[in-house]
Structure formats: C-alpha cells, structure tokens
C-alpha cells in the first residue's frame, strides 16, 4: 500500500464499453493523486488505495446496464477489497455495476421517460458516508447527469432502513437543497442520486465532469478531493 499522506493511488477499472475512464483519470490527476488503469480481466489488484468504477456503457448495456460487468473477473477482487474497507466509488455505470454486484443496495431502472437525460443538476448531501467526512450534510453540489437508466429503486420496505442506517448519500434537489418531485429528473425513489454501504459509494451524477468553472461547475473537484482525503487548496 502506498502512503496515504503523500500521493494516494487510485485504481480506475476499465470494462469493455467504459467511456468515462479517461475523464476520470484526468480528474484524479488534476487533484494530484496517481491514477492507475485496471483491466477488467485482472484476478488480483495491484497496490492501490482507492478504486473507481467509471461511467460508460460496459458491455453495451446488454442484458441490463451493469449486469455483465458485475460478473467480470476483477469484481471478485473488488468485492474482497471492499470487505476489507477499501474506498470504492461507482459513478453512473459504475454505480449500476455495484448495485448489480450487490455491493450497494437497490437497483437502477430505465428513466420513466424512456429517454436518455443529459443536464446539469443540483444534489444535496443527506448523509456523508465514510470517507466523505469533510463534506457537511446539507451541502448542495452542482453536477451533470447523463444516463438512460438512472431511476433508483429499492425493494418494498427497504427505503426506511436506508435512511435509518444513514445510507442515503445524495438526493436530487433544487439549488437551495430542497428535494421534491419537481427536481427529480428520473423518478428515483425519494430523489435518491447516491447511496453508500460501508466503504462503497455509488452515485449517478458525474463529479469528474465538474472539475472547473469553465466546464459549468467545479463542485466535482471538491467532491473527489473530499473522498481522497485531500483537504485545503488543491492545485490545478
């Protein structure tokens, strides 16, 4: 394991059809961390401190989005690392894969409109999970979404338990942090945009696309910096 205080190493897993992997590599590098691309065929992980499952259309979303990647060889190692407490972040398709694998609760269904949605969205931090301690509950972030299957659902009776156990990480909200039906882009239950379970976190918005004001927002920079435990001023 590399030294946390110096330069954390982030493994970014690339499945066939992943398409946000390079954007994620750039984001991690911009934060001063080391990014290592990991092939989905690996049976064991090289020494890394963090893992990201990036967005995309792994295996062309065939069967169900995330379903085939959830059974890729590397996922056994991911599961093992998560069990031992390694921070794992799933973004968009990565979130879908983690749900399909059972590392996160719930499932992501096609948007009720049946249409892909790409737009800027504000989300509110409901319960900052392990690793995101520096992010205050109630913080509102501006991040883009871009997905076809982002409607978060849970089994009957599971929703209350998610809230009780502090597993609801992000909710789609207005810019004041109010979460209501008018600002729910995809019919997710209780406006849920991200959840956590132990050291595993998943979200539909794309923090790696919000790394600078000129791109529309730099809230993703703060988000990823918090997750990596990088505080204070982060150099570009």
């Amino acid at each position: 394991m590399s030294d946390h205080t110096a330069q954390p190493t982030v493994g970014i897993i690339v499945f066939p059809g992943s398409n946000c992997d390079q954007d994620t590599v750039l984001a991690i590098q911009a934060l001063g961390a080391r990014a290592v691309v990991l092939d989905y065929r690996l049976a064991e992980l090289p020494p890394v401190d963090f893992l990201i499952l990036p967005g995309g259309f792994s295996y062309g979303d065939y069967l169900r989005s995330g379903a085939l990647a959830a059974a890729a060889p590397i996922m056994d190692a991911v599961e093992k690392s998560a069990a031992s407490g390694m921070p794992v972040l799933g973004i968009c398709n990565g979130f879908q894969i983690l749900c399909e694998r059972g590392l996160l609760p719930g499932a992501l269904l096609p948007n009720p409109s049946g249409e892909f949605i790409c737009q800027w969205q504000t989300v509110r931090v409901v319960n900052a999970p392990k690793g995101f301690e520096t992010m205050a509950d109630g913080t509102v972030l501006r991040l883009p979404i871009a997905h076809h299957d982002g409607s978060y659902r849970v089994a009957e009776g599971q929703l209350a338990s998610l809230f009780e156990h502090g597993q609801v990480f992000l909710q789609y909200s207005d810019d004041k942090g109010g979460a209501h039906a008018l600002v729910n882009p995809n019919g997710s239950v209780a406006n849920i945009a991200g959840v956590s379970q132990g050291s595993v976190v998943g979200l539909m918005p794309h923090p790696e696309r919000a790394m600078a004001q000129y791109l529309g927002s730099d809230d993703g920079r703060g988000f990823l910096a918090a997750w990596l435990g990088l505080r204070g001023n982060v150099e570009c």
Binding site: N19, C20, D23, F57, G60, Y62, E115
Partner: protein
C-alpha cells in the same frame, strides 16, 4: 440472373463498362459496378459541380477525397472533420438509420487516425403526424449511438417543413483530434502487406444500401427497402474505435479504410485505387454471421462496425495481439500486391477481376450543362415595401419550430462527456477546450428556407451564417464541410437547384477565403415526384483564441449600448420565418460578400480581445432575424434585463425580421462605442446604434408608436411555441 437494371445501372453505363473491360462483367462484377457507379459512391452528378469549391487554404492538411478533411489547429494538433448524411435509411427505419449514420461518420474520422471529440446533428423533419414518429425514432437513434460510444453531441440544428414529410434529413458532423505527427489514410498500402478485416461479422444486412436505397427516389415500394438498412452496435463501435486508434497510434498500419456504403466493395476498391496497388481478397476468409453467404452478398453487405487495415508483415503479430486484446473478431482476408486491380477469389477460384481505374475512376460523370451560368440567374420574387407591424408576429416568429428552444432534443444527447465542452448545445456555437492553450469553436447551420426559391442565394447565406457564428468568438475558421441534400439530379429543375446551391457555397467560400475540405452529397431526396428544398448543411471548425472564456451571447446588465454590425442597406424579408408565417413565398437576398468579409475582420479582431473592446455580448443574426437574436440574448436564468430600441417606424418589420446573414447584434460598454466606430470606419463597415439595455424585463421599440413585448411572455413563446394558449 441479374441484369444491369437490378443493380441500379443505366443502359449507357452498362455499355461503358463493357467498353472499358472489353468484355461483359460477370454477375459479381456487375454487383461491384452497381455499387461503385451508384450516385452515392461515385458522385457522378455532383462531382463536376463540386470542383468549383475552393479546397486550398493555409491550414489544410488533407482536402477532399479521403475519409475526412484534415486541418491544422495548432503546432500540436490537427482536426479531422466531415459531414455525412443518412437520410434515406432514417426514413425507412428511423432509429437504426440515424444510429448507423452516427457510427458511420465516426468511423470515417477514426480511419484518419483521429480520436472523435465532438458530434453535431443537422436535422430536418416534416410537419405531418408520421413525421412526429420519425423524429422520435431519429433522435433516439442518434442518442443511442453517440451516448454509448461516448462522444459528446455539442451543437446542432433542427428545422421543420412539409417538404421533408417523406424525406427527413439526418446529417451528422463529427470532429476528431489527431496529433500532428500522425499521418494515415487509405492511400498508403504497400505491396506485401496483409489485409485485416476486423469488427462485426459480415451479415446479409444493408445489401444494395448504396446502389438502390440511397441512389433512387422513394416510391410506393419503400417499405420493401427495410432490409437494406443496417443495424448499429455502438458497443462494437467503441471497441473498434479503440483498437483502430491503438493500431494507428503505434504506427502498425500503412493504410486504414472504414467500411461504409457498399461495404467491402468500396473499401477494398478505394483503398487499392488510392494506394495505387492491387488487392487480392479471399471471400472465404471473411467471417460471416450467416452460413452460405454468396460472394456477392459478402462483397455488398453494409454490416456496420467493420474496419479494413493494411498491415506490413513485420508488424502483423503485434497488430493481431492488439486486436485480440480488445476481444475484437478479425480475419486476414487478403493481401496487397503490385498492380492496379481488385481481384476477388474464393480459395483458388477467381470470382472477379477488374481494374480499379475502371471500377473507381471510370464512372461517367454528368457534364455540367454549358448554359449553367444563365440557368443560375437570380430568381427574384417581388416583395412588399411597407408592412405595418403586428406585435403578435414577435411571439409567432420566436415560437416558430425553427427558432424556439430545443432542449427536448439535445438533452437526450450526452454533451458533457470528454470534459472539453465549455459551451454545449444551449448556445448557437460550441466551444471546446483542447488543452491549456488550444480551443475549437464549432458551428453548424442549414437554413433551408433561404434556398427554397433561389438556391444560389441560399448556398451563400448558409456559408455566411456558419462563419458569422464562429466569428462571434473571434475564432479563426480553419475549414468548412458541406452536406448537400437535394432531389433527383436526372430532373432538370432538381439538378439546377442542386447546382445553384453548390455554386452559392463556392462563391461565399471563395470570397471569404475559407476552404471546403470535404463533405457529402445526398441526392434523390424525392418521394412521388416531390423533392425537398435543396438543403446545404454547413459545418465549420475554427481556432478559438480563449476557449475558457467564450464571448458571451447573453446580457445581464442595463445601460449597454446595442448596435447592429453590418446591417443591410436595404433589408428584405425573402426566405424568412416571418414570410412563412404570413404565407408569402419570397427569394432570399443575394448577400453582399465583400461587405461581409470586412465585417468579419472587424468582429474577429475585436472579439479576440473582447474585454479590451468592451464587448459584453454578441449574437449572429440568422433565423428569425434581429428580433430573435435580441430576445434570445435576454433569456438568462433571471431574465431581469430588457432592451429599448429606437428604430424607424416605416421599415420596422424589415429591420426586425429580415434574416440577411452576416450581421450581428452587439452589446457594448458605452465607453467603448467610439472604439467600435473607429474600427468599423477603418474598414468601411456600417455600425448602427439602435438602443440600450434596461432594467425593465421587456423588449420596447420606440420610434413611431411604442411597442412592448414582456420578456415573460416571450419566454413562454420560446419554450412552448408561438401559438401557446393563455397569453
């Protein structure tokens, strides 16, 4: 037994084949000729006209003829870019037709060794009920492919008219980025190299797509054409893109050619012709999806997601290992030899053997009629000289389908992937960051109504419109790409209109000194004798001087001066949205290109240093005229600023709604007005001070009687259409 007619050839063309070959072609050879001599592949009707376009320019790396044009962006980067059409397939099967259009143009860019970084869509739909279904399917198909393969759709344009009811247009622009030291194309294959076909296994889809579907008018039997449409698989497209770029990046291939229209036939013939080599292709080595496929079917299949690469023997192993790493299916299907022929074999048996000079270069071209220049004379329809303003027109024009907000379409496309999009589809021009110093401005337009009567005027207008858009950013245009869409070229009127359109593009590109580096021609957009308006889709790529801080297109502050840069001496409404609303048919004016050239220079100079020029915002005037340009510049999230304009009452309607391209609305800090006046005077450009921004959220016109449009109501019209209820 196939005849020449079955493969879409004419009697004369068949005679010519026999003359050039000095024998009758066999069945397979006839199929090859049918494909390559089709309008779609040979450009036989348009090529002599396209020769009029300027192709030379300071930044041109690769002009027309390759898979895409290439221009130099900076000392590090080149840009490959081109427009392709997929009109006929999108009518027959909207989702797959549009999706494969996106896949096809992306493969063209990849075949140039460039990584695609942006897509733009130019769409035209009809207005009947069926068009709604087509529109839904086409938008879905474009999104399905672009989103999944992960290339952002950063800009686009959509227009509506009943002339597109049975011929919707789907033109797609793709832009790719290539390091300056990379050079690859279809023209480098050397004898001794091995031909590898990789990607999707070849199936029976899309046979005769080029020769019959895309090169003939639609009639009653269009329904039967459905099997000629291909099916796209963006997942395979993504793997194929990555594998091809890796092969090119490592310098393993001496030539690359994607498989598009006419599949293996055109890709092998064109690679051989461009590289001046012979090819021996063994159809028994082609992976097929279905058993018992004939050589004819294999050669003419238009199965998507296939790429042909020519690999020198010493690099073969490394290449095959790399393709395997991407888990892409591939086979070695032939080899490159000395010669000038395409030989199709099956094991030891020769099935076809034709000189590529005849196959690719021999197709008889339609000569330009000697009296063309007379035929292209200006078509002028008289218009009224004075019309009193009806304020309702403001809402109707802004809410017209061609002018109103279109997020319902573009939010179905991923515009933020790739982390380059500084300005996306909510602006008229896209701005992309390339690296710390380099940026690109991309604009597309297709003002088809302008070409409805006088197509030359429309062609000029389209080019001016595209260049005016990137000029708002102070961006230097590097090259143009054109998508020509027209009716049946065998009919004199349709031919003349297509010729006029191309002539207009050529005139404007020549005077404004921007080269056309490639494009596409789609003819036979005609159903039951009804042709579309001749439609030019123009795309431009430009070098952005400061991509992280685009020159704004909206205003949020009162007390800015509002000026028109280069307003026409005589404003005319011909071809405008307002004329259509009023039920008038008029001809679009022929623009004063010399004046526009000077204005472009002024704006480019000033917009490059917008801060020092006090330029708070700028918009290019196009569809809907000055009125729409001003209204849209006020549509900020808070919508708390308005304008007060002083315009003479007698020409008010003309001033507000004329769509003469090459004029701009400027919002200038008052202290800088004299600087602009000086700059304009130095180049003899007109600058008209027409008003001021106010803190009252409405558009107010003074001059004669006062007219007021509250911004809130304009916003409703913009969002919901001009005829919304409740105003």
């Amino acid at each position: 037994m196939l005849t020449y007619m079955d493969v879409g050839l004419s009697f004369k063309e068949n005679q010519e084949i026999v003359r050039l070959l000095r024998r009758h072609p066999n069945q397979l050879e006839l199929g090859l000729f049918g494909a390559l001599w089709s309008e779609h592949c040979s450009y036989k009707s348009s090529k002599p006209l396209l020769a009029r376009l300027p192709h030379e320019g300071r930044f041109v790396v690769q002009g027309p003829g390759g898979n895409a044009g290439v221009v130099q962006l900076s000392y590090r980067w080149d840009l490959a870019f081109k427009i392709e059409s997929h009109n006929h397939p999108s009518y027959v099967e909207p989702e797959q037709g549009a999706a494969t259009g996106v896949g096809g143009i992306l493969r063209d860019i990849v075949a140039m060794g460039a990584r695609p970084i942006a897509l733009a869509d130019i769409l035209k739909f009809g207005t009947d009920d069926k068009s709604q279904t087509l529109r839904r399917g086409i938008v879905e198909g474009i999104g399905d492919y672009g989103n999944a393969i992960g290339i952002p759709t950063v800009t686009g344009t959509v227009g509506y008219s009943e002339v597109y009811d049975a011929n919707p247009l789907v033109n797609v622009l793709a832009v790719g980025l290539r390091a300056r030291n990379v050079h690859v194309g279809a023209d480098g294959a050397r004898p001794g190299s091995v031909l590898i076909l990789m990607g999707q296994a070849t199936g029976r889809d899309g046979i005769h797509g080029a020769s019959l579907l895309a090169s003939q008018d639609f009639g009653e039997q269009t329904e039967e054409m459905r099997p000629t449409v291909q099916v796209g698989d963006p997942f395979m497209g993504k793997l194929l893109m990555e594998a091809t770029l890796a092969i090119v990046g490592k310098g393993l291939a001496d030539a690359v050619q994607d498989l598009g229209a006419a599949g293996l036939t055109s890709s092998t013939a064109e690679l051989a012709y461009a590289s001046q080599v012979g090819l021996i292709v063994d159809v028994s080595q082609v992976m097929c999806r279905e058993p018992e496929m004939s050589a004819y079917e294999i050669m003419l299949s238009e199965t998507q997601e296939r790429m042909l690469v020519s690999i020198p023997l010493d690099k073969l192993k490394e290449t095959l290992d790399l393709i395997s790493d991407y888990e892409l299916p591939y086979t070695e299907i032939g080899r490159v030899v000395e010669g000038d022929f395409l030989r199709i074999v099956k094991g030891d048996v020769v099935l076809a053997d034709v000189p590529t000079g005849v196959l690719v270069g021999g197709c008889p071209r339609l000569p330009i009629p000697s009296d063309l220049s007379t035929l292209l004379g200006e078509e002028l329809l008289e218009e009224e000289t004075s019309i009193p303003l009806n304020p309702e027109w403001g809402y109707q024009v802004l809410g017209h389908p061609d002018c109103r907000e279109r997020s319902a379409i573009y939010r179905r496309y991923d515009s933020t992937i790739g982390v380059r999009t500084v300005w996306g589809p909510d602006h008229d021009v896209a701005v992309l960051r390339i690296d710390d110093t380099d940026g690109v401005a991309i604009a597309v337009c297709a003002p088809a109504r302008w070409a409805a009567v006088d197509s030359t005027a429309g062609g000029i207008g389209a080019v001016v419109n595209a260049l005016s858009l990137v000029a708002t950013q102070g961006a230097e245009p590097l090259g143009l790409t054109d998508g020509i869409n027209a009716g049946n070229p065998d009919k004199p009127q349709a031919y003349r209109r297509m010729a006029g359109l191309i002539e207009g593009i050529a005139q404007a590109a020549r005077v404004l000194e921007v080269p056309v580096t490639g494009g596409n021609v789609s003819l036979h957009n005609e159903t039951r004798g009804q042709a579309i308006w001749p439609t030019a889709a123009i795309g431009v790529v430009a070098r952005h001087p400061h991509p992280l801080s685009p020159v704004l297109d909206q205003v949020a502050r009162p007390n800015l001066r509002i000026c028109l840069l280069n307003p026409p001496k005589v404003s005319r409404l011909g071809g405008s949205v307002l004329q259509e609303i009023l039920g008038i048919t008029g001809s679009y004016p022929r623009l004063d290109l010399a004046g526009i050239k000077s204005s472009l220079h002024v704006l480019m100079d000033m917009a490059q240093k917008a801060d020092q020029a006090g330029l708070a915002a700028v918009r290019s005037i196009g569809l809907g005229g000055t009125f729409v340009a001003i209204a849209r510049s006020l549509m900020t999230p808070s919508r708390n600023v308005g304008v007060q304009l002083n315009l003479p009452a007698d020409s008010l309607v003309f001033d507000l709604f004329n769509e003469m391209a090459g004029q701009w609305i400027l919002y200038i800090e008052p202290d800088f007005l004299s600087k602009w006046e000086d700059a304009c005077q130095a180049r003899g450009v007109r600058l008209q001070d027409i008003g001021i921004t106010t803190d009252s959220p409405d558009i107010v016109i003074k001059g004669g009687r006062t007219v007021t449009w509250p911004l809130q109501e304009l916003w409703h019209a913009y969002r919901q259409g001009g005829d919304f209820i409740g105003r």
